[in-house]
Structure formats: structure tokens, C-alpha cells
Symmetry: C2
Subunit: 878 residues, 2 copies
């Protein structure tokens, strides 16, 4: 028969999957001989079974739990509901990954009207006994029966008022007894039944409540943020109570073996005398710092310090511990790897290696979370200055970083001021591709509409620029101002954005810049030794490319040529091209673009210094380039010599019902092969030019949106014909590659055929995710929250790869592609490429590289190292 | 070594794949001992090799052809370029499937200035010799060198004018000799080279030209229409020439063993005395009917009649033959199964079975083309009346059938007049879902915009209603009239539409109605004996459902509940629901809809008489239901008590960038579970109500647009909870099923998981095709023509299933679905369900049923029978 329950003494710290982090460490500490109140763990498998059984604990598991209650009674010498020596227990959650504060806990379980008298008499401390009792009723009602804390808190407040006291501790035993009675009455009033008196019934209710809390809203949200699968479930730890609220020789506290903010090697912690665990967190009284314990209870303090050292040496990581002192005797209630800031995380890893406690491999694979690095890569507000700043609103934390600047309400104004060296915050209802230049010259972007995957957000992240999106509170007033947080901001007024929190501040705040130095640099060098996956970057400008190389990029995996089209004269030429009605007109407009594109490519090749560069040919639907305003349309009419009516007619003909699934990508090159020919000339001529200067560029031409081999064949034939002619004419011996993005399901499904023509695949997982799920990023915001709320999706499929669906297509494409062309080069250039979970997956399925925005390159380097060290198996960090 | 060339005497009629239809039948007729000018066939594999080699006939195949020239010279006793007995040959295409007139032919090959003299002298008929020569130069220049016929025709016209004659036959030997010289000069002027004199060079050029013609535009188009893969290639037949233009005892003709228009058993044919093959087709002179040959050349006639009977008996099908009589001697040049009308096809099949020539199985599998039946299922114009009618314009043949009626320019007017019993042609710029009622009350639909997959086209086909779409010539004038073909039509004026040709006529034309009787009925009954695939229908109204049952539907595979929402009061309630801002408001609006939906379902169940009914829950995005005009918006404001500003705000919030990939399908039910609950109540209550009357309905509830099992779980839980409660309350013992559409790639990829919750799958291949290819039907029209033109796609993936991509996903889903749930019910309800090719595929991958529009049910029945008889292997009909 399956075993679902384990005594602490039956387990050990390696059994994390089964017993959860807390359970495994309680077992581990028991093995180490530390002072642990004993008990048992109901396994994560019991939780899974609970959900399989339709949110019921089945009879066989209930029976097993009851057997372990008996064993626990034997070990502790106490019994549930006993008149001599009653057993009281805590019931706590504990999943494989630490999810602090997300799930539920019940303390002091086992109390009823009779037991409370027993412990009151036995301890000679009726105040304590009734304090425990009223706490238990309150917690059980809240956690297990969902009555809601506030009703009980109101009763406490009434009592304090009646008694004329300020603190809970000033209430007497009788007051607390009276409160316990009031609480029970409240329970009955709310639920129509008496408060349960049978400790076994209480226990089963509490265990069920912990299982249930695995799927509460905040737990679901936390899991989504930290890549923790809903299928893992939580274990439940039933542990004998020890009491920090027995008087002045008792207390409870929490501590870290190193400073979680800086990583400094110093014991950090807080405690309260005469209190139970939740009091420290709840902030009812101000706790003392841990070093004061040396004075209050020196023996307990010394023992605690010794245990801290022992635990850190044993677990080889900074520990976060809970303890209780019951009448001078120290008990350890929990230990776990402590949460820490990104900076602390790097310092601790480097220090632990220096101290010889771990080797570099272990530091990389166990001590660091790649996602956390993000916080270190963007300019940050100076912490002190931030405290003093005034929050005026909050939007979505769309792209991290900190930015201060003058409000500009149009992209033109932002570009104008930006070029003049001013710091600008571009503030728009929403942004469009037309705004690119303005965005590029802004320090930060603020929008009133749009989610984390809106145009503003995506482009800002790609640019490594701070962005707060979807701040609905902004009310635009006319053309030159908006209201927010009760203030009116005109163009030129200063505001500040925190892209990591979504906060918007009045005025400016001092910032500090990001660099990869010191511990960060050390850790990156270690990572590079271990990883096998290359890391490239998505960069559309020489500036971005340079930044990425600084951050360790080994090439460009995606240059979006169209992003170059919005600048200066180019947009005029592009628009002329779009309005062309004959091949000749189109070629004339393209001829204007060609030298500009060539120059772009030369600069990018030079920025990369010979590292590989993948250039994607024109991708977006042409209507994205059309002017949005009357002035632009009039100009276009003038530039092209076509009437305004004719221009309108052309624009109407470009309208699409579903632009995402319209005339874009290689479809443009099929209709207008002259565009692909022009882009080929620019790519090849630029390569010939820089190679003459001694470089050895091998351009990789990437055809987007392929769904069929013959489609690629057609476009490739245009590219090859154009390129080979130029190369022959030049007398140079340039090599180049032609490959494709795999971003349409059919391309993945027929990858064996596509690979006959493609020399490389790059997974365009943004579109691949859209097509595979059948929803567009731009529209999914309308319903995805319902999906998260109803636990249908656990993760944002646009942020981390959906292994079951999109991943299946990727694996298939890799298999089929290699089948046809064993040496096919495989990469990913969707936004997923910078997500650590996705990097793991890419390593596992055998890609050669990931490509991501410059600011995610270090994240990908670390994630790739972890992937190599773990063999691609993702484990959420404890 | 591979063999690419076969003498006629080496092959037989079963070698169609290798030798093409013409080659195989020439071999077959040779075996039968019929008088066949001998020669050889260059195989279809040589054609494939030609394309593999980059449109070159490689040296080894050229050498093989030359060996066969020698063999042919031995057999015929003639030699290329010989001074005594020169060999002249015809070079003709011949693919596996008959593609009449699509590819190229060269006659009289082998002539040059010297050879023409030899045959002139030898035959004593220089006129004939020079006629052959000028024909050859003309044909070779046109077909092989693509000079263009017209230059030569101009020269002939000049010559006739100069000579003052009307007919070619009136030109003398000298005139023709002069023309041949002029032709050669023209050739040199156009191509800068002399006309080739070496017969071997001529032959290789002609063979190459035939191979090339496999990919000419009309051949590509023909293949697309008839499901013929481009990979098949064509064979080339090189045959000794016989001459019908040797004088009055020579001639050439074509004949059918039965009447191809009616199927009547009577020899039908035409011939010309003193002519070559192309003269009959080209209509230069009016040919004689075949029975006159009895008088002209009685011996040849009698021999021909005997051969006709022999061939029909041998091939067991109506034959279409070409023959030539050279100086009284009959030669057969070709035989093949004759093309025929749908009605003829049925009569011939039934007659051949009656005559004992074939059995029913053979009749079903070999003699009938399911696609052809379409023509018989819609009302048709009376043929005589049609001849007299005046064409005023032409659009796309979007939905077959014939319709006459009064022009109505709004759906409201169409509905009003339709209800009053008037025949209406709804004429719109384009239609939208709002127009449904008006469309339903119209006889035909005409639009100025939109392709064959536009809203108008799709809905019209589903309704079995005639539709001509995308007639760009229509110019709307104000609100009440349009111009077309030089006339102005006001509302109330009569026009007629032919949905099978796209023609638009002035006034009315008599029509005849479709019925399944006589031969049609006989054939359908045979088909039903053989097929294993069930055939259901897509029907949204009791009327459509009844029609489908008449046509043999065995259930409903798709009822689109939303189509019911546009009628009468419903749209008001739906709009109120959309504008609801709370669950209560939404439920209030839904409560109004519920009894109407229930009544719809009762009527549909009753129309089906207990046959299974699959009901799809609300699918389209809500903005489709929003009024488009100010009056409608004002009414909505009044109905809901919300301000016009508020209404605008709601509409803005419903806007989507890519509605196809937006908030629709089950996503609506996730956000608004109360909609699914209402629809469940209507489905279940209706079933309980009709079952009380003695029926045994088991409703099949279909949840659309699933991409993830948990999504289905959520909606299913709402359905099951609602349904089970109602059933329990009613005391009845109703059964029902819950299943899903597989229309998103991810659903197919994770079908094993989805099948845990779905009791049936129905492939929604419209959306599945869109998502798999990554293009929307509404937008693909902008580029698909380029794709066909550049030979990237061979077929319209929205008309026949794309086996390589979409089909792969379907097969995967079937495999995964059955793995989880071996008895899962599998169907298809996309528009592909009525396409014979797709029906074959569905049979092959093991679906239980196909569902299609009522008017395609007989087509699907026949296709399903053919699939069962062939094991799902599709073969284009010869």
C-alpha cells in the first residue's frame, strides 16, 4: 500500500519532493540531533490524491494519519484531549519550493473547553492557556472555516476598549476566557454549528484547509511568478506545539545566517518575548534584534548561534530559521534557504566559494536564480532617494529599470528633446511602431493602455528601457497635459518611473547605473565555463548590439530590419514603396532604402566584430508603416504624386481583419520579390564592404513566417540569385547562410521538408505561441486573467514556453529538421529566449543557441550554465 | 538502370501511373489489336526527373529516347529525315488524370525543307505536304518556342486576303509553301535563329515543351480544381503521324460512345474530311455529325462503330475517342473515359449496371465523381431560357445554384420582402452576421466585395443558397440603387444570379428545382451500402435540418447556436447581455434568450426525429453582435438604460486587433460561465420536452475553441452541474454527451489530455487550417493568388484538407484521443467535411462521421462509399 505519512524521524532532507521543503528539513534537523518538536509529515502525494479525489481526504489516508497521531502521542507522551497531558499541535504547509506566506497554518490545535482547563491548571498560567485557546479558535475559524479574521479582531478591540487597555498582552486570563467564549459564539452565529471539540476532527479539518490553500489565489499567482507547477501539491507538517507565550522566559523569532539584503556574513534576526510565531510577522509589537537575545536569554542565544553555524555548514547556503524558546529551552521550528536580493545572492555565492563551503558548480547550480539578475541590469533608483519620493500612480511593471525625465506626449517631442540631450518620459495612451524613434530617445515609457505584452512593453524590454504600461488612472486633458494622482502634468514636467514595481513618482529621483563587475562578473565567468548553449541577442541597432556584447552576447540571433525603417528619411521611402502600383515604382523606392539598409548592416557587423549576425527580412504587414495623421497622409500624397483619394484607396486595400494572420513575413517577399532582392543586396554588399576591412562576416539571412517548404524555396531563389550575382561581381568569396524562422505550426509539422532548403531554424516562439494557442497577444489580455484566476493556465505562455503544446512542436521540428540536415543550426529568437525556464528547455531539446534582448543576456548565460549542469531538468529554487 | 521510355507494345492499360492515361490506353489498344499508329511513351517519371534536374532532360534520358526513336523507325519502316520514307510523328502529353486541353501537343514533327519535298513527291499531293509543313512550323514555334500563334495567323489572313479566298482549304500548294517560308522568316525574326531542321532536335524540343506545359498556368489551375498533385507529372507520347488531310478519302474526328450531356446510349461525334485533329476542335470549318460518315466512308464507319463497342465493353465505361482516316484506312489515336455532365454520369452508371457491364461497387468507385453532384443539388436555370438572358456582370462563383429576384439593398428589406413571399436578391457591398435573417429570406446573395470564403460565400453555401461574391464592377449609387453592366438597378428591380458560373443577368430566368430521384436516388442507395463513414450535416435551423435529412443526413454534426441569435427579439436580448456590467444584468438578459433557444432546439430535435444532434455553444466574439448603425446604437441605449457614451465605451472595450484569435469560443464561457449555463438549460430542457413526446434525443454539447484540457474541464463542470440538476429535478433519465471541437493546434497536440474530458472530438478544420498555416481566411485572399501563380500551393487549403500539415495534426489528435478513450466519437464539421478528397482522408484516419452543409450531404455519401471501396486512397478520376 502507498505510504502517505512519515514521522520526522523517518525522513531526511533529500526527500523534498515527497515531504516538501519544511518537512524534509525538519527530518534533516531531527537526524542532526537538533532540538525539534516531533511530529509527522503528510506527503505531497496525499495532496495530489486529495485533488484527484475531488478535494476529499480519502478514508485510507485519514486512517493512516490517525495511526501517526497515535505514534506521535507515544513519542511525545501526550495525547489528544487528554486530562493529564494533552497534545497540542501546529499544522503547517510545506511544498517542494518555498512559498513563504502563501498557504495556511493552524497553531495550538487540540484545544477545547476541557483541555484549556487542564493546561491552565497544569501550567499554573491560565492567561497563557486562554490566550492559546482564543488564538486557536480565531485561526481555525479563519483558515479552516473561512469565517474571516475581522469579526474576531473586532471582538478583541471591543474587549480592549471595555478594559481600557492598548495591547493584547494587557488582557487578563478572564478577559481572554471571555473572548474565547465570544469567539465560539461568533463561530456558531456565522456557521450555524458548534466549534468542533474533537481534536481529531480539528486536525482533519486543518489538514484539508492546508491542501485547499495550495490553490488559493495568491498561491496560484506566486507559482506563476516562480515557475512552480500546480501538480506538485503541498505537504502538511503536524508538529507538537512549543510555546513562546509562556511568560518572560519564553519567546519566538526568525533569523538569517547572512544579511538577505547585502549578503554580508552577519547573523540577522528578530524575536519577541512571550509571543507566538505569527506575532513577529504580524507586527503587533515591535520585535527586538537577535543580538539582544544574548542579554535576555544568553544560554538560548548561544545554543541558537551554534545551531545557525551548524545549519549553514550543513546546508551550504544562507539559512532562514524560525525558533521558539519555551521556558528557556530552545526549539527549532524550521530552516530553509533564505530569500535574498539579487546583490546578496551574488555576494553569498562568491563568498561561499571563497570560504570553501561550495565549489563553483554548486554555486552556479544551487545558489543563484537567473531571473533575479534582471534587477541588476537596469539603472536603479537610489534606495534612500526612493523612500522620500511621492507615488502618484501605479501601472504594470512592464519593463524593469528606473527612469526620470520630462513628460513628452508625442513621439516627435520625445525625439526632439531626446536629441537635444534631455531626459524624457514618453507618455502615451498607447504606442505604435511609428513611435519607435521617440521611444528610442526616451529614458522611459508610460502608457495608459496595454498589458505587459503591449507594443510599448515589448519594444521597451527589447530596448532594455524602463516601461510602465496600462496605467488606467491617467486622464489625458487636451493635447498637452494629463492628470494623475491629483496632479496635472504638462509636457516638460518631471516624473519618474519604476519599471520593476510599476510605480510612478512625481519629480525626479537619483539613479545608479548597471554594470557587470565584481561578484556579478565572477559569477558570469563561472557560468560561461559550464554552459554548452550559446547566447545571442536580439538587437536592431548598433547601440543595442554593443550593449549586448558588453553583457556577453556571442552573436545576433535576430535583427528586425523593419525597426530601421521608421527613422528619418527611411519612412518616407518605405511609404513610397508601399504606395507603388508597379514593380518599377516599387524598385525606385527600394533603391532609396538600399544604401541606408547597407549602412545599418555595416554598423551592426562592426559592432559585433565578426560574431554571427542573423538578419530577418521584412516581417510586419505594410499597413503598419502608413502614417496615422492627416499631415503624414498629405505629405505622402505629395511625395508620391498621388492624389489623397488614391492614397486612401491604397490604405483601404491594405486593411486586414486579422493582421497577425495576414499579408506579412515571407508572404510579402512572395508578392513583392523585389523587397527581398533589395534586402539581400544590402546584406551582401555590407558584408563585402566590412570583410574588405579585415572582418570575416558570414551573414545569416532569415526568412520569416514560412509555413511551407516551397514558399521558402521561392524566396530563397530570389536571395541566392541576387547574392551570388553580387558576390561574383565583387570577386570576393563571401559565404552566407539562408534559414528560416519556425513560427507557424505548419512549419514545425513539416520541418523535415523545410530543412531541405533551410540551413538554420530559429524558433519564433512569440508567433508560434499565438498560433498554437490560437490567441493573439494583443487580445489575450482580455481573458487571460480569468484563466489564471480559474487555474486553467498556470503560467503566461508568452513569458515561459508552454512545453506541452508549443514545446511539443519545437521538439518535433528539431527532430524532423535534424533528420533531414544533421548539422542544421538551431536557435530561438522569441522573447522566451531570455526566460530561464525556456533556456532549460532549449538546452534539453538540443538547440545551439538562445537569443534574447541585450539586458537578458546575462540571465540566459546563467540559465544555460544551470541547464548544462542539471541536464535541462528545471527545478524551482527552494 | 531506371527505364524511362516504353514502346506502346511494351505497356498495358494498367500502367497509367507510369505512362499516363493516353500512353496506357495506346498500349492497351495495341494489345487489343486495334489499328494504332505505333510509337513510344516517355514516362511520367522522366517528367519528374526533368523537374528534379532543374528543367533539363538529362543525357541518359535523351540517349534512351534516341534508342526508342531507332526502334520506332524499325517498327514503322520510316526514318527521321529520310529521303525515301521519312518518319513524321506527333508529340502529345498524357498524365495519369485526364486534363483535356491543358497541356501541349506538336503534330507533323520531323518535317524540314527537304523532307517536305520527299513527301510532296511521294504522295503526289504537294498541297497536303506544305499544309503539314506550315502547320508544323506554326505549332512548334508556338508550343516549343513560345513565339505566339497570332503572328502566324496574321500571315495566313494576309495570304487569304491576297488570294481572295475565305477558307484555309482554298489555299493552293504554292500558297502554303510560300506561307511556310514566311513562317520560317517570322521565326527567325522573333528568335534570331533559324528554324531547326534536325528532326531529333525538333523532337527533344517538343518533349521538353510538353514537360514544361505541365506547369503552365491553366494546368496548375485545372489540377487545383480536380485534386491532381503537381508531383505526378505528365508522360509524353511520340506516335507516328497518320494524315487526315490527304484529301477527300481522309479525315479526322472525335466521338463518344454515349451522349455526354444526357448519358443516352447513342454514338455521338463529329468529323471533318481532309483535316488534321486540331481543325475539329478549333472550329475552322463546321464538322459533320458522326452518322454522316456512314455515307462518306462506309467501311471506315463500320469499322469505327465496331471498335467503339469493343472499347466500351473493354474499358466498361463511356469512351471518348479520337480517330483519323488516312486514305480510307481508319486509325485510332486515343481513347479515354469521357467527361460528362452530372446527370449523364448518373444515367451511365445506372445503365452500365443494368446492362450487366459493371457491378454496383465498380459503378460507385469508378464511374462517379462526387464533386459533380453539386450541380444537381441546387435549383438550376432552364437551359433554353438561360441562352436568351442578358449577362450584366460577373463575380466569383461562390455558392452554386440559380436565383432570380428583386434587388434588396439591406438585410431588413430582404427579410421584409422575403417574409411577404417575394423572391429577393440581397445585394450588398459585403455581408456581416447581422444580415443573416435577410440572407435567409433571400433567394440569392450578390456582393461587391469578398472572395469565395467571405462571410456571404460561407453562409450562403451553408444555407445551400446561391451566391455571387466579389463583383467589383458594381457601383453603389446612394442608398437605393447600383450600376452594373451599364444599367441602373433600384430596389425592387429584378436580376438573376448563377452561383455556378458567377454570371449576373438582367431580369428573371426560369429555374428548375433539385430532387434526389431516379438515377440519383439509385446511386445514393448503392453508396449507402458500401460506406462505413456516417454523414451528418451542419444545420442551424429546422428548415436546413429537414432539407439535410431529405438528402440523407444521419444527424447534425454542427448547430451554430449564435446564428439563431440574430433573429427578431433575440438580437436585442443578446445585445443587452453584451452590455451587462454585472453577472445579475447578464443573467437577466440571458433569461430572455433561454426560452427562445429552448424552442429552437426542440424544433431541431424534432426535425431530426431522434437522430444525433451536436450543439456548439456560443462561438463568435461578442462584438459581432453589436449594431453597426446609429439607430441600432440609440435603440440599444434605450433598451439597456445606459447612456450612448457608456454604450460607446463598452463597444470600444470589445474592440480586438485580431478577432479570429481573440475573446471567443470557450473563452467566452470561461469569462461568462452564465452563458454556458443558459445554453445548457436550453439544450437539456428541450431534450426533456421532446423525449416526453416519445423521442429519444441524446444531445451532444460541443465546446468550441479548446486549447487546453483544463479549459474544457472548467466549462464542462458548468455544463454538467447545470444539466444534472435539471435532469434530477425533472425526474427524467436523459443522457447527454460533452465534447469539444479540435480547431486549435494545441488541442490536437494535447488531444490525449483533452480526451480525458471530451467524450467526442469534432475537427473544426476551418480554424485549424487558419491557425496551422498562420493566415486568416478573410485576409489570405490578398496573397493566395500569388501563391498559386508561383506554384507554392497547389490547392486551396480551405477547400480540401492539407494532409501534410493540418492532416498531420488531425492524425495525431485521432491517435492521442483514442489512446486515452478508445471509444471516443470522432467527426469533422469544418467546411472541408463536404469535400470528397477530405472525406477520403477522414475515412482513412478513422473518423466516425463527416458533417457538411445540407447540399453537400449526397456528395459526402458518395465520397464515403468511394473511400470505403478504395481504403481511403484518393485517385483523381481519369
Amino acid at each position: 500500500m502507498a505510504k502517505f505519512v512519515y514521522l520526522f524521524s523517518e525522513g531526511d532532507e533529500t526527500m523534498r519532493e515527497l515531504l516538501g521543503g519544511k518537512g524534509a528539513n525538519l527530518a534533516g534537523m531531527t537526524k542532526l540531533g537538533l532540538p525539534i518538536p516531533q511530529g509527522f509529515t503528510v506527503s505531497t502525494e496525499a495532496c495530489t490524491q486529495y485533488y484527484t479525489d475531488g478535494e476529499k481526504i480519502n478514508d485510507s489516508i485519514q486512517a493512516e494519519i490517525m495511526q501517526y497521531v497515535v505514534k506521535m502521542e507515544e513519542i511525545t507522551g501526550k495525547k489528544f484531549g487528554d486530562n493529564e497531558n494533552p497534545l497540542l499541535v501546529s499544522v503547517r504547509s510545506g511544498s517542494r519550493a518555498s512559498m513563504p506566506g502563501m498557504m495556511d497554518t493552524v497553531l495550538n490545535l487540540g484545544l477545547n473547553d476541557q483541555v484549556v482547563e487542564v493546561i491552565a491548571n497544569k501550567s499554573g498560567n491560565p492567561r497563557w492557556a486562554y490566550d492559546c485557546y482564543r488564538r486557536f479558535i480565531q485561526m481555525y475559524s479563519d483558515v479552516v472555516m473561512e469565517v474571516g479574521k475581522k469579526y474576531f479582531e473586532e471582538l478583541i478591540d471591543e474587549m480592549k476598549e471595555k478594559k481600557g487597555v492598548a495591547l493584547d498582552t494587557e488582557l487578563s486570563a478572564d478577559d481572554l476566557k471571555e473572548l474565547a467564549n465570544q469567539f465560539k459564539a461568533e463561530y456558531k452565529a456565522k456557521l450555524g454549528a458548534d466549534f468542533p471539540t474533537d481534536p481529531k476532527e480539528q486536525l482533519m479539518g486543518a489538514i484539508k484547509a492546508v491542501f485547499r490553500s495550495w490553490n488559493n489565489e495568491r498561491a496560484i499567482y506566486y507559482r506563476r511568478m516562480h515557475n512552480i507547477p500546480g501538480s506538485w501539491g503541498t505537504a502538511v507538517n503536524v508538529q507538537a506545539m512549543v510555546f513562546g507565550n509562556l511568560g518572560d522566559t519564553s519567546g519566538t523569532g526568525v533569523a538569517f545566517t547572512r544579511d538577505p539584503a547585502t549578503g554580508e556574513k552577519v547573523l540577522m534576526g528578530e524575536y519577541l518575548i512571550n509571543a507566538q510565531g505569527e506575532d513577529v510577522v504580524a507586527g503587533i509589537r515591535t520585535p527586538n534584534t537577535i543580538d539582544q537575545l544574548k542579554n535576555d536569554l544568553p544560554e538560548a542565544y548561544n545554543e541558537f548561534v551554534a545551531i545557525c553555524n551548524k545549519l549553514e555548514n550543513h546546508y551550504k547556503d544562507m539559512q532562514d530559521m524560525e525558533f521558539t524558546i519555551e521556558d528557556r529551552k530552545l526549539y527549532m521550528l524550521q530552516t530553509r534557504s533564505g530569500k535574498r536580493t539579487a546583490a546578496a545572492s551574488l555576494k553569498i555565492a562568491v563568498d561561499l566559494v571563497k570560504e570553501g563551503m561550495v565549489d563553483e558548480k554548486t554555486a552556479i547550480s544551487k545558489l543563484l536564480d537567473p531571473s533575479q539578475l534582471d534587477a541588476l541590469l537596469h539603472p536603479q533608483f537610489d534606495a534612500a532617494a526612493l523612500k522620500a519620493a511621492k507615488v502618484i500612480g501605479k501601472g504594470l511593471a512592464a519593463s524593469p529599470g528606473a527612469a526620470c525625465g520630462m513628460v513628452a506626449l508625442t513621439a516627435e517631442k520625445a525625439a526632439e528633446w531626446g536629441k537635444a540631450g534631455k531626459a524624457v518620459i514618453l507618455t502615451r495612451l498607447e504606442t505604435s511602431p511609428e513611435d519607435i524613434e521617440g521611444m528610442d530617445f526616451s529614458k522611459g515609457i508610460l502608457t495608459a493602455r496595454g498589458g505587459k505584452t503591449s507594443h510599448a512593453a515589448v519594444v521597451a524590454r527589447a530596448m532594455g528601457k524602463c516601461c510602465v504600461s496600462g496605467c488606467g488612472e491617467i486622464k489625458f486633458k487636451g493635447d498637452d497635459s494629463f492628470e494623475l494622482g491629483g496632479n496635472t502634468y504638462k509636457e516638460g514636467d518631471f516624473i519618474s518611473l519604476d519599471g520593476s514595481t510599476g510605480n510612478i513618482y512625481d519629480g525626479t529621483i537619483d539613479t545608479v547605473d548597471a554594470e557587470i563587475t565584481g561578484d556579478f562578473d565572477t559569477v558570469m565567468k563561472w557560468a560561461d565555463q559550464f554552459r554548452t548553449l550559446k547566447v545571442r541577442t536580439n538587437a536592431d541597432t548598433p547601440k543595442d548590439a554593443k550593449k549586448a556584447v558588453e553583457f556577453g552576447a556571442e552573436g545576433i540571433g535576430l535583427t528586425r530590419t523593419e525597426h530601421m525603417f521608421f527613422e528619418g528619411d527611411r519612412i518616407a521611402a518605405i511609404r513610397e514603396m508601399i504606395c507603388a502600383e508597379t514593380v518599377e515604382q516599387r524598385e525606385k523606392a527600394l533603391a532609396k532604402l538600399e544604401p541606408m539598409q547597407q549602412k545599418d548592416f555595416e554598423e551592426i557587423y562592426e559592432a559585433l566584430g565578426g560574431k554571427p549576425v542573423t538578419i530577418r527580412f521584412l516581417d510586419p504587414p505594410l499597413h503598419e508603416f502608413i502614417p496615422q495623421d492627416e499631415a503624414g497622409l498629405a505629405q505622402l500624397s505629395k511625395d508620391t504624386g498621388k492624389s489623397r483619394e488614391k492614397i486612401d484607396e491604397i490604405i483601404t486595400s491594405l486593411h486586414e481583419f486579422n493582421p497577425m494572420m495576414g499579408h506579412r513575413g515571407c508572404r510579402l517577399a512572395v508578392t513583392y520579390p523585389e523587397i527581398a532582392a533589395m534586402q539581400t543586396r544590402a546584406v551582401i554588399k555590407a558584408a563585402i564592404a566590412v570583410n574588405k576591412k579585415g572582418m570575416n562576416v558570414v551573414p545569416e539571412i532569415m526568412i520569416p513566417l514560412i509555413s511551407e517548404k516551397k514558399e521558402l524555396d521561392y524566396v530563397k531563389s530570389v536571395v541566392v540569385e541576387t547574392a551570388d550575382k553580387l558576390i561574383a561581381e565583387s570577386g570576393a568569396s563571401l559565404k552566407y547562410m539562408v534559414g528560416t524562422m519556425i513560427e507557424i505550426p505548419r512549419a514545425a509539422l513539416t520541418a523535415d521538408e523545410v530543412a531541405q532548403s533551410a540551413e538554420f531554424f530559429s524558433f519564433g516562439t512569440n508567433d508560434l505561441t499565438q498560433m498554437t494557442f490560437g490567441f493573439s497577444r494583443d487580445d489575450a489580455g482580455n481573458f487571460l486573467d480569468d484563466y489564471y484566476g480559474k487555474n486553467i493556465y498556470e503560467f503566461d505562455p508568452f513569458a515561459r514556453i508552454d512545453i506541452n503544446g508549443v514545446g511539443k512542436l519545437m521538439e518535433l521540428a528539431v527532430k524532423l529538421g535534424k533528420q533531414t540536415r544533421p548539422d542544421i543550426k538551431l536557435g530561438i529568437c522569441g522573447e522566451h529566449g531570455g526566460d530561464p525556464f525556456t533556456v532549460m528547455f532549449c538546452h534539453k531539446i538540443g538547440l545551439d543557441y538562445v537569443s534574447c534582448s541585450p539586458f537578458r543576456v546575462p540571465i540566459a548565460r546563467l540559465a544555460a550554465a544551470q541547464a548544462a549542469l542539471s541536464g535541462g531538468e528545471f527545478a524551482a529554487k527552494g
